[in-house]
């Protein structure tokens, strides 16, 4: 691919920053700390994935960077200025998780209107191409399928030819093929020197796409690194069995990250299954119902959160 054809900012230029940003909702009663002190920097040419379970503060973090939401404390900078400045908005594209586009407006009308906001928009043909909207130009937004509507929102985000693109859970509701295509587009955008920030709760998605992954849990960054670095923090297997071995005992074994016992079953998150299974069988001859499974993302967060607490 001809990367210098449309390279934007110089690779490595800081595009967006959060400094010790917090966001608290509900001043009276019980305040909810949606984001509890986040530092992060997005650079040109970088594809940053913000990974976390629901309610981790991903969208709030994104909203503070795009100026939709003002940090309760700390600061947010976009292109060196206030994210709410018109100049900053001209250089970013945002795909929100849900946007109530009026049902009666046609796709072509929407794209034309949104490109009209920008000083140097992408040509309409390029937006349609990039978001896969061929043949949908005359259709009313309300008559589209969920996946098609998501693509229109992606097209709107692309319309200003942004230096920095924010996409909030872009592939939710898309089928596998369209998701892969969107991934490729995002990757190409980053490779051409633009910055891309996406939120996701799929480790697979972050791993396939990102240069850097930030893991958020309860409003805090609990891991920050390359996909390989983050994956190495995630346990390899989940072991479950009816056993008399206590959680306290198992927790001290090598390769065990996390152990709980609910009275009947012992649940372990381990980096390697075989040595732990061997030891379990040796220690408890009456062990029953043994299963070894892939850990879920929730398991991964559990380990990461636990280790974050331990190191704190």
């Amino acid at each position: 691919m001809d990367t210098d054809l449309n390279s934007k900012s110089r690779q490595g230029t800081v595009l967006a920053e959060l400094h010790d940003a917090t966001k608290t909702f509900g001043s009276r009663g019980e305040p909810v700390h949606a984001v509890a002190g986040v530092d992060l920097t997005v650079r040109a040419g970088e594809l940053l994935a913000i990974l976390g379970p629901n309610g981790a503060g991903k969208t709030t973090t994104l909203n503070m960077m795009t100026g939709l939401s003002k940090p309760t404390s700390g600061s947010a900078r976009l292109f060196g200025g206030d994210p709410r400045d018109l100049e900053a908005r001209q250089r970013m594209g945002v795909m929100l998780q849900a946007s109530g586009v009026p049902d009666t407006l046609r796709v072509g009308e929407l794209l034309t209107a949104f490109s009209g906001y920008y000083p140097a928009p992408l040509p309409l043909e390029a937006i349609i191409e990039g978001a896969g909207l061929h043949g949908l130009e005359k259709r009313q937004f309300g008559a589209l399928s969920g996946g098609q509507q998501r693509r229109v929102l992606f097209g709107i985000a692309l319309s200003g030819d942004p230096d920095l693109l924010f996409v909030d859970e872009p592939t939710t509701g898309l089928d596998a093929e369209v998701r892969r295509a969107l991934w490729a587009t995002l990757r190409d955008l980053a490779d051409s020197g633009r910055g891309v920030v996406l939120t996701t709760h799929y480790l697979e998605e972050a791993d396939a796409l990102a240069d850097r992954i930030i893991v958020l849990s309860q409003g805090r960054i609990i891991a920050d690194g390359t996909p390989d670095q983050v994956k190495s923090l995630v346990p390899g297997r989940r072991i479950s069995a009816e056993s008399s071995v206590t959680a306290e005992q198992a927790a001290h074994w090598p390769a065990v990250h996390h152990a709980v016992h609910d009275g009947t079953r012992l649940e372990l998150l381990v980096s390697e299954a075989e040595p732990v299974v061997r030891r379990l069988l040796a220690q408890d001859p009456f062990l029953a119902g043994l299963t070894v499974t892939e850990p879920t993302l929730e398991d991964a967060f559990l380990t990461l959160t636990t280790s974050a607490k331990e190191s704190a």
Partner: protein, 306 residues
């Protein structure tokens, strides 16, 4: 992860190219870039100073066009807003017109009060409900992350209120003149029409305030509850002089009362009171509603909707 290596090294053979309808990112980059680059060079001076005048004009025009399209694609909304006051005027003003009020015929007096009823209703519902609904849907959020001057969105809605107000006033005047035997001098026709249509402005502000105070689902109900008694107590249905004294004493605290007195003044049928006082009252209410609306606009930052 195979996807990573595929997309990084050979984007042209990415899974996208297997389907006609899915995005083809390589094509996008090659097609988009040269044109975008040229455009950027042309616009570099404009971009530096924020937004050029020509572009601002285009944005305002596009917003107004979008509002018009939304209005035309669900014609029943606009039709009911226009038909309701006309129906009221025919039934209560022309059919059961009764005695003359303040020296003008009942059909003439009612033309002004039901005209005001129509114009205010269109501004409150066209503006208030649509702002509340679009806040709830998240349409406003999307508008807030693009470089659109927020004013463009509101100006477009004011223009639609003015357009509907104009249709109501013209249709009602025609009904009054043809069916109701309303006779006014050319100057009076023009003055009363302008006064009525201009009412779309202060009451758009009121609608906007409502749009930011109430939730999207409750907006029509809350607005009806507030608006219908207010219309009655302001003397829009029955001349204010025929209302109970309690109601008459409440009227000066209601913005529609002052507005309709201003409009009645153009044909010499007001209940008295200085037009300056009425105009000042309408202006004061407008400022108050705009303050409420701007408070609501700021409050929406970082909310679930906004």
């Amino acid at each position: 992860m195979s996807a990573k290596t595929t997309t990084r090294t050979t984007p042209s053979t990415s899974p996208a190219s297997t389907s006609m309808t899915t995005p083809t990112p390589t094509a996008m980059i090659t097609a988009g870039a040269p044109a975008a680059r040229t455009a950027m060079a042309e616009h570099s001076s404009a971009a530096a100073s924020g937004i050029s005048r020509g572009q601002a004009l285009r944005v305002y025009r596009t917003e107004a066009w979008q509002e018009l399209l939304k209005l035309l694609r669900i014609p029943i909304f606009a039709a009911s807003t226009i038909a309701l006051p006309l129906m009221f005027y025919v039934i209560f003003g022309i059919a059961f017109g009764g005695e003359s009020s303040r020296g003008v015929g009942a059909t003439t007096y009612m033309l002004v009060t039901y005209g005001a009823f129509g114009v205010i209703g269109a501004a409150l519902f066209g503006f208030g409900v649509s702002v509340a609904v679009e806040r709830g849907q998240g349409w406003m959020r999307l508008k807030r992350v693009v470089p659109m001057p927020p004013l463009a969105y509101f100006v477009a809605k004011v223009l639609m209120s003015l357009a509907i107000a104009t249709i109501i006033v013209i249709a009602m005047s025609a009904l009054g003149a043809i069916v109701g035997g309303v006779r006014l001098s050319a100057g009076q026709w023009i003055a009363v029409s302008f006064a009525l249509i201009a009412g779309a402005l202060p009451f758009s502000a009121m609608g906007l305030a409502f749009g930011y105070l109430v939730g999207p689902n409750s907006a029509p109900a809350v607005l009806n509850l507030a608006w219908l008694p207010m219309a009655f107590a302001s003397g829009l249905w029955i001349p204010i002089s025929e209302l109970p004294e309690v109601v008459q004493s409440v009227a000066p605290f209601l913005p529609p009362y002052h507005f309709v007195q201003l409009a009645l003044g153009t044909i010499g049928a007001s209940e008295g009171g200085s037009p300056v006082v009425h105009a000042a009252a309408v202006l004061a209410f407008t400022v108050l509603f705009l303050l409420v609306a701007s408070w609501g606009y700021r409050r929406d930052e970082g909310r679930t909707y906004g």
